[in-house]
C-alpha cells in the first residue's frame, strides 16, 4: 500500500550536563545531516524514475512495457526505503517501527515477491498504475521530509502531501490488487515459493493462498489508513476559515 509515514519532528534535547548536551547536540546535527542526505537522494531517485517514465512514454506512445525502463531504479530506491525502518529503530525518526516496517515491507513485497517474482505480470498495465502512484507519492513525501528538516516547508509541498493521496492511494491500491490478481494463475501453475508435504521440516506453504489472503487483508486495512490520512489532513491543513483564506 502507498507508504505515508508521519511527519518528522525535532527531538527535544533534555536538560542535563553541558557536555552531554553538546554531545547530544552534535549527534543531533549528525543525524539531521544524514537524514537530509537520505531524503534528498530518495527524492532525486524517484524523480529520475518519473522522468524516465515520461520520456519513454513520449518515445513509445504507449503505456505498455514501460515497467522495463524503470525496473532497476524502482527496485533500488524502493528497497532502499528499508533504511527508514532502521531510522525509527535507532530513534532519529520519531515514527513507530512496526507501522513503518509494515508499510515498507508491503512495498518491498510487491516489488520483489510479486512483480519481480512472477515475470508474466510485468507486461500488465496494472503495474504502471501503482508505479505511477508510488512515484508521485514518494517524490512529494521525500521533498516534504527534506524541507521539514531544513525548516523551510513551502505550503505547496505540505498541501500536496496531504492532498494528492486522495487520488493516489486508491489508484495505487487498485494497481496493486490487479497485479496480485493477475499473478495468481501463474503462481498456481508453477507452485512458486510453495512447499508441500512430506518434507523433513514438517511444514507447508501455499503461496497462491497466501496471495489471496493478502488481497483480502486490503479490505480492512485500506479504509483504516485512508481515513487516518483524511483525519491528518483535516488536522494539519485545517479548515479554510482558520487561515482567513477565501476559497
Amino acid at each position: 500500500m502507498a507508504a505515508s509515514g508521519a511527519g518528522t519532528s525535532r527531538a527535544v534535547h533534555g536538560a542535563g550536563d553541558a557536555l552531554q548536551r553538546r554531545q547530544r547536540g552534535a549527534a543531533g546535527h549528525l543525524s539531521t545531516a544524514y537524514l537530509l542526505i537520505y531524503n534528498v537522494v530518495m527524492t532525486a531517485g524517484w524523480l529520475v524514475i518519473a522522468v524516465v517514465l515520461v520520456r519513454e512514454y513520449l518515445a513509445k506512445g504507449t503505456y505498455h512495457g514501460l515497467y522495463y525502463s524503470i525496473e532497476k531504479p524502482l527496485k533500488f530506491f524502493q528497497t532502499g526505503a528499508v533504511l527508514e525502518i532502521l531510522h525509527c529503530a535507532v530513534g532519529i525518526v520519531p515514527s513507530s517501527v512496526v507501522l513503518t516496517g509494515f508499510q515498507v515491507m508491503s512495498r518491498v513485497f510487491l516489488t520483489w515477491a510479486v512483480t519481480h517474482g512472477v515475470r508474466e505480470v510485468q507486461n500488465e498495465d496494472s503495474v504502471l498504475l501503482f508505479v505511477v502512484a508510488w512515484t508521485v507519492t514518494e517524490i512529494v513525501r521525500y521533498s516534504f521530509y527534506t524541507f521539514s528538516l531544513l525548516n523551510h516547508l513551502p505550503y505547496f509541498v505540505k498541501w500536496a502531501r496531504y492532498t494528492f493521496f486522495i487520488v493516489l492511494y486508491p489508484m495505487g491500491v487498485t494497481g496493486e490488487l490487479l497485479t496480485i490478481y493477475a499473478s495468481l494463475p501463474h503462481v498456481q501453475r508453477t507452485g512458486l515459493y510453495s512447499l508441500t508435504l512430506p518434507n523433513k521440516y514438517n511444514f507447508s506453504f501455499d503461496y497462491h493462498t497466501f496471495l489471496i489472503l493478502t488481497m483480502v487483508s486490503y479490505i480492512p486495512l485500506f479504509p483504516q489508513l485512508y481515513f487516518h490520512m483524511l483525519r491528518q489532513r483535516r488536522k494539519i491543513l485545517g479548515r479554510p476559515e482558520q487561515y482567513g483564506k477565501v476559497e
Binding site: P198, N199, K200, Y201, N202
Partner: protein, 346 residues
C-alpha cells in the same frame, strides 16, 4: 507534610498546636476544616483523569482513613465502574494507588485531589488462564484423533503409524494439564484482573499456534525426526527435566507468599536441586519453559513448533527483563550474579 502526620499523632493533652496551613490549591470549593482537637480531617476530591470533571467529593475523612475503600465506594455509585476497573492516582498520568496506601503518607495537603482512570472492562486472571490453556488441550486432541474436515476424508479417525506422534500428544497434553492444575492450585496472583480484551488476544495466540502445530504433527504425511529414536529419547529427557524444573519453580514462588497476601520477596534456591538455578537466573520458570519447548521441537522436528518456541522465548524474555528490573529496583541486596532468563547471556 510530615508535620501534619505528626500533628495528627500528638497526644490530646498537648496544647493545641499552631495551625500550620497546608499547601492547598487555590481553587477549592470549601476552606479546609480546622481541627478542634488534635485530629486532622481530610477532604478528598476525585477528578476524572482526562476531563478533570469532579466525580466525587469526600469530606470529613478521619485518619487513618481507608481512603481508597471510601473512594471506590463513592465511584461505584456508577454501577459500571466496579472496583477492579478503577485506577485512582495522585497524578493523571502516574501509577495507581494501592489499597494499602495511607493518606497521611501521601504527599497531599488536607484536601487531597485524586484522579480516576477507567481501566476498562476487566476479567480475572484465573478465568483467562483457564480459557487460554483448555483451548490448546482440546484443539490438539481434535487433530490427534483426526476429526473430519481437517485432513482428507480417507484419514478420518485414523491414528498415526509413528510412535513419536503418540508421544508428542502425551507430552503436549501433559503440559497443558499441568498448567491448568497450577492455575487452580499453585499460582498466587498479584493482580486479580486484567483488561478484558486480553482474553481475545491471548486465546488467539495459544489456540492459533496449537492448531498450527497440531496440524503438522498429526498430519498423515508427517516425517519423523531425522535421527530417529535417539533424537526423540534425548528430546523427551529434556522435556521432562524442564517440566519438573518449571513445576519446582512455581512451587518455590508460591511458598514465598503466604496465602491471601501480596508480599514480594527475593526468591532463593531451596533444598530442591531444580531451584538451584535461582543462583544464576531471576525467572527460571521461563528458562525451564523455553527448555521444555526446545525439547518438544527436537522431538517433533516441526518448523511451526520451532516458530512457536521462538515467539514464546521473545515474549518471556521481555517479561523476564521487566521482572528482573523491578527486583533490582525494589531490593537493594538483590544478588548481582543473576541474569533475567539465560545464565550470563540474557
Amino acid at each position: 507534610m510530615d508535620a501534619l502526620a505528626l500533628e495528627a499523632a500528638l497526644p490530646k493533652r498537648a496544647a493545641p498546636p499552631p495551625v500550620i496551613l497546608p499547601p492547598v490549591p487555590v481553587k477549592r470549593p470549601k476552606p479546609a476544616k480546622k481541627a478542634k482537637k488534635a485530629v486532622v480531617f481530610f477532604e478528598v476530591e476525585i477528578l476524572d483523569a482526562k476531563t478533570k470533571d469532579k466525580l466525587c467529593f469526600l469530606d470529613k475523612v478521619r485518619p487513618p482513613p481507608r481512603v481508597l475503600t471510601s473512594c471506590r465506594l463513592c465511584l461505584s455509585t456508577d454501577p459500571q465502574w466496579y472496583p477492579a476497573r478503577q485506577s485512582i492516582r495522585l497524578d493523571p498520568k502516574g501509577k495507581s494507588l494501592k489499597d494499602e496506601d495511607v493518606l497521611q503518607q501521601l504527599p497531599v495537603g488536607t484536601t487531597a485531589t485524586f484522579y480516576f482512570r477507567d481501566l476498562g472492562a476487566q476479567i480475572s486472571w484465573v478465568t483467562v488462564f483457564l480459557t487460554e490453556y483448555t483451548g490448546p488441550l482440546i484443539i490438539y486432541l481434535l487433530f490427534y484423533f483426526r476429526v473430519p474436515f481437517i485432513y482428507a476424508p480417507k484419514y478420518d479417525f485414523t491414528t498415526s503409524k509413528h510412535w513419536v506422534v503418540h508421544l508428542a500428544c502425551m507430552c503436549h497434553s501433559f503440559h497443558y494439564v499441568k498448567r491448568l492444575l497450577e492455575t487452580l492450585f499453585v499460582h498466587r496472583f498479584s493482580h486479580g484482573t486484567m483488561p478484558l480484551r486480553n482474553i481475545f488476544k491471548n486465546c488467539t495466540y495459544y489456540w492459533g499456534f496449537a492448531a498450527w502445530m497440531a496440524y503438522y504433527i498429526n498430519h498423515p504425511l508427517y516425517t519423523p525426526p531425522m535421527y530417529g529414536e535417539q533424537q526423540v529419547t534425548i528430546a523427551l529427557m529434556i522435556f521432562l527435566f524442564c517440566q519438573i524444573g518449571n513445576f519446582s519453580i512455581h512451587i518455590a514462588l508460591r511458598n514465598l507468599r503466604p496465602p491471601g497476601s501480596k508480599t514480594r520477596k527475593i526468591p532463593y534456591p531451596t533444598k530442591n536441586p531444580f531451584t538451584w538455578v535461582f543462583l544464576l537466573v531471576s525467572c527460571p520458570n521461563y528458562t525451564y519453559e523455553l527448555g521444555s519447548w526446545l525439547g518438544f521441537t527436537m522431538m517433533t522436528q516441526c518448523l511451526p513448533v520451532a516458530f512457536f518456541t521462538f515467539v514464546g522465548f521473545v515474549q518471556m524474555t521481555v517479561w523476564a527483563k521487566g521482572k528482573h528490573r523491578s527486583y533490582l529496583k525494589e531490593f537493594r541486596d538483590y544478588p548481582t550474579l543473576r541474569s533475567p532468563i539465560l545464565p550470563f547471556i540474557l
